[in-house]
């Protein structure tokens, strides 16, 4: 390496919160013009580290130097002044303001010091958006009307509206389609060739290989490896560093192909459609089977699941459980017939974050523990305890507050809810989102075990290997239509990606 001083060095950074040591000695060195990837499981300290870098948290100890001189990042404004911009995973845009107003929020171009020059802001925003390859976004539109991907672009425009030397991106690709990811990478490339450094956080190793220069791995609040070459470090080595174990995706064993063909379908979907979301869909689900829906974001996967579940009302078609049609658009009818849903947004759609594990698990089964509305809390606790134990949820304490659990264990609590209810059909929407690699294998095993016990599972995931590894059969969706159905073993990732993008039906 050339002996020029790095753009940023952080050394020995520690940060404690009441009860947790979030950072326990982190070193990070970033050169100008490089893409520096930050890897680590959930809870490894990535978020805390970038908040320290953004000036949002003050470290307890450690040193930060910026362009060779020691600095204190005392506040977000101080970090921004130095040229450090952060794009958080949860977009921090204001939906009721326009694109331009969001981009220049807090540093509006003004006349006489306080009159906002709206037209100047609009012009500058339009230029930024053009530079980001999204000239089609109108600076005067309300941010709330934009898609998630477009909002991400606006966030990026906001970061670039400052003089940046270092830009931190926290899982920027999580909500994006492959095409949009390509555009994101092009932007990253443009930035680095201008000498801007990018700190890039992602769970997807293949992305890191594509655009990363060097990698720093965090584990339990420490940097366990710094400055590894992104392209040539073998995957198993990176995974081993992150987990301290040698785990790749481990999928449970599948029963032989066509094992369920003789069984009567428990769930039948006939010509189900919603205008603008998905074309008529037919599918059958047999007991013991895991069927995967593969497709891009926006291909209608989640919408199909939610319509089967009655959370959305279909325009046409019907859903039958054991041959009996369900009342369309009624969650209660679906739940009553034995369908359960683990929704995509766990915290927003499934969990009562102020409550205990037990309350969260029993919520769909309350009347079973009640006589004339009176809850028998002892039976309730015993039953939830058993369900929780059966899924080896940790801690296996039904009184624990759900918010203190990791993502994987929160997901298990959602599964326990339906296990307790004894449902026949389980709809899983992105079951491993926000679940770290180590815990995924365990979740896969639980899902397969539930299927082996006779449950029919419909799985949606944006991670193709997950669908291929876990499901028995796969339905490939493109723009709201099923373009291909096959045994999961006959497909591979490239074939699926071809199908979801090209959509050439071959069978």
């Amino acid at each position: 390496m050339a002996p020029r001083p790095p753009l940023l060095t952080m050394s020995g950074i520690t940060k404690s919160f009441p009860g947790v040591r979030a950072l326990d000695g982190v070193d990070l060195e970033v050169q100008a013009g490089e893409v520096h990837c930050l890897l680590g499981q959930n809870g490894a300290g990535k978020s805390t580290l970038i908040k320290v870098l953004a000036g949002a948290h003050q470290p307890d100890s450690g040193e930060i130097t910026w362009r060779g001189a020691p600095v204190t990042l005392g506040s977000p404004v101080a970090a921004m002044r130095l040229g450090i911009a952060t794009i958080y995973q949860e977009l921090d845009l204001i939906e009721g303001l326009s694109v331009a107003e969001n981009v220049f929020l807090g540093h509006e171009p003004t006349a006489a010091g306080f009159v906002v020059r709206a037209s100047a802001a609009r012009t500058a925003t339009a230029e930024l958006l053009k530079r980001l390859g999204h000239a089609e976004i109108d600076p005067t539109r309300l941010v709330g009307e934009l898609s998630a991907a477009q909002q991400q672009i606006v966030s990026m425009a906001r970061a670039l509206s400052h003089e940046v030397r270092l830009i931190v991106m926290d899982e920027p690709s999580a909500a994006l389609d492959p095409e949009e990811v390509d555009n994101l990478f092009r932007i990253v490339g443009d930035l680095t060739s201008d000498g801007v450094a990018v700190v890039y956080i992602s769970h997807r190793l293949e992305e890191i290989r594509r655009i990363g220069d060097r990698v720093t791995v965090l584990k339990e609040g420490r940097s366990v490896a710094g400055g590894l070459p992104a392209e040539s470090t073998p995957t198993h080595e990176v995974v081993a560093l992150m987990t301290g174990r040698n785990v790749e995706y481990v999928f449970p064993e599948r029963p032989a192909a066509g094992f369920a063909a003789e069984r009567a379908p428990v769930l039948k979907v006939e010509g189900l459609s919603r205008r603008g979301e998905f074309a008529p869909v037919d599918l059958e689900l047999r007991p013991g089977e895991i069927v995967g829906l593969a497709g891009l974001v926006g291909s209608g996967r989640s919408e199909i699941l939610e319509t089967i579940y009655g959370a959305r009302k279909p325009d046409r078609g019907r859903v039958l459980v054991d041959g009996t049609p369900l009342r369309p658009g009624s969650v209660r009818a679906a739940v009553g017939a034995g369908i359960g849903l683990a929704p995509e947004e766990r915290k927003a759609q499934a969990l009562l974050m102020l409550e205990s594990v037990s309350s969260n698990v029993s919520i769909s089964t309350l009347s079973r523990f009640a006589r004339a509305g009176w809850l028998d809390r002892r039976t309730e606790r015993a039953a939830t305890h058993e369900a929780v134990r059966e899924l080896s949820l940790r801690p296996d304490n039904p009184d624990a507050a759900i918010r203190t659990l990791s993502g994987g264990n929160q997901q298990k609590a959602v599964l326990a809810r339906w296990l307790l209810r004894g449902c026949k059909v389980l709809l899983l929407d992105e079951p491993t989102r926000g679940v770290d690699i180590g815990a995924r294998a365990e979740l896969y095993a639980v899902i397969r075990r539930l299927a082996d016990e006779g449950l029919a599972v419909l799985l949606v995931s944006s991670e193709v290997p997950e669908v291929l590894g876990l499901a028995d059969r796969v339905l490939v969706l493109r723009e709201g239509s099923v373009v291909h159905t096959a045994d999961a073993r006959e497909l591979d990732e490239h074939r699926v990606l071809d199908l979801v993008m090209e959509g050439s039906p071959t069978s």
């Binding site: 579940y309 959370a311 969650v331 209660r332 679906a334 739940v335 009553g336 849903l341 929704p343 927003a348 759609q349 499934a350 969990l351 009562l352 974050m353 102020l354 409550e355 205990s356 309350s359 919520i363 769909s364 309350l366 009347s367 523990f369 009640a370 509305g373 009176w374 809850l375 809390r377 940790r394 801690p395 296996d396 304490n397 009184d399 624990a400 507050a401 203190t404 809810r417």
Partner: protein, 341 residues
Amino acid sequence: MTQPTTAAQKDAPTSAAKSVGEKPGSGPRWGGDVRTLSLLGVLAVLVAVGGITAPDEFLATSNLQLVLTQASVIGVVTVGMTFVITSGGIDLSVGAIVALASVWATTVATQEFGFAGILFTALIVGVGCGLVNGLLIAYGRMVPFIATLAMLASARGLALQITDGSTQIVSVESVLDLGARDSYILGVPPLVLIFAAVTLVGWLVLNRTTFGRRTVAVGGNAEAARLAGIDVRRQRLYLYLLSGLCCGIAAFMLIVLAGSGQNTNGNLYELDAIAAAIIGGTLLSGGRGTIIGSVLGVLVFTTITNIFALNNLETAVQQIAKGAIIVAAVLVQRRSPHGGT
């Protein structure tokens, strides 16, 4: 070599399980206790202040009976309000419903049916108003603030129209007897007993029934509750019915207390009830509610009013003190580990 290892292995999981088990489990409960204890502390301080500033009057049995009786009417309303707020809603119409129910139950026509007629009418009017609120909110998809604001205006208007501004004196003896001194049971006024009963039932329903659990679920995360198979709309409807029912009970209590029905009854009850629930520890955003906290909140407010009255201080000062208490209570809740996140 082997022995210490086994011992360590044996110990490790149990102690780990214990520490994980205790921390999250006891956390919220402890937080709730702190809040309840601090309110009890405030109440104790107030009693001491009352005892010192007006030693003869404040601690007299008759005064304590008066304080409790005054707390009873607003207390019953607050129990209903606590349920609504816990579910993430708000009921601005409680004061107006109390007024309407109290005048409707004391019209000449109603009084002909005696005790039962008055009681029944008060309850039915309360539940009826709650039904309208609930239907508008749950099935008409109106924002609770707006729907109950509309009810506030129209119920007050209707109350004025019924009475034409006059006080409707109650002539039914059995109703008046209930408010008389000689009907006290072991020194406790009947109205206080009604309040105690409503509190007890409210606590049981919120903490020990499926209805209570669903209320908390709807307030904590309505979308999650819906996707878990709870009929969120029906639950909301029931909650406003419940609040209306509490208003009906409170209206009957006011009739007993005043021996009359007036269209100005229950003025600003909505604000007192909301304030009492909030300082008690019920989250305005929903998802957590405490009946005990609400009742303590009511007692704190009523005691302040009483102390100020005994010391001949102006209402203005009293209002300022109430405002300060609300601010202080909410600030304390923010600081407590499980407050408002």
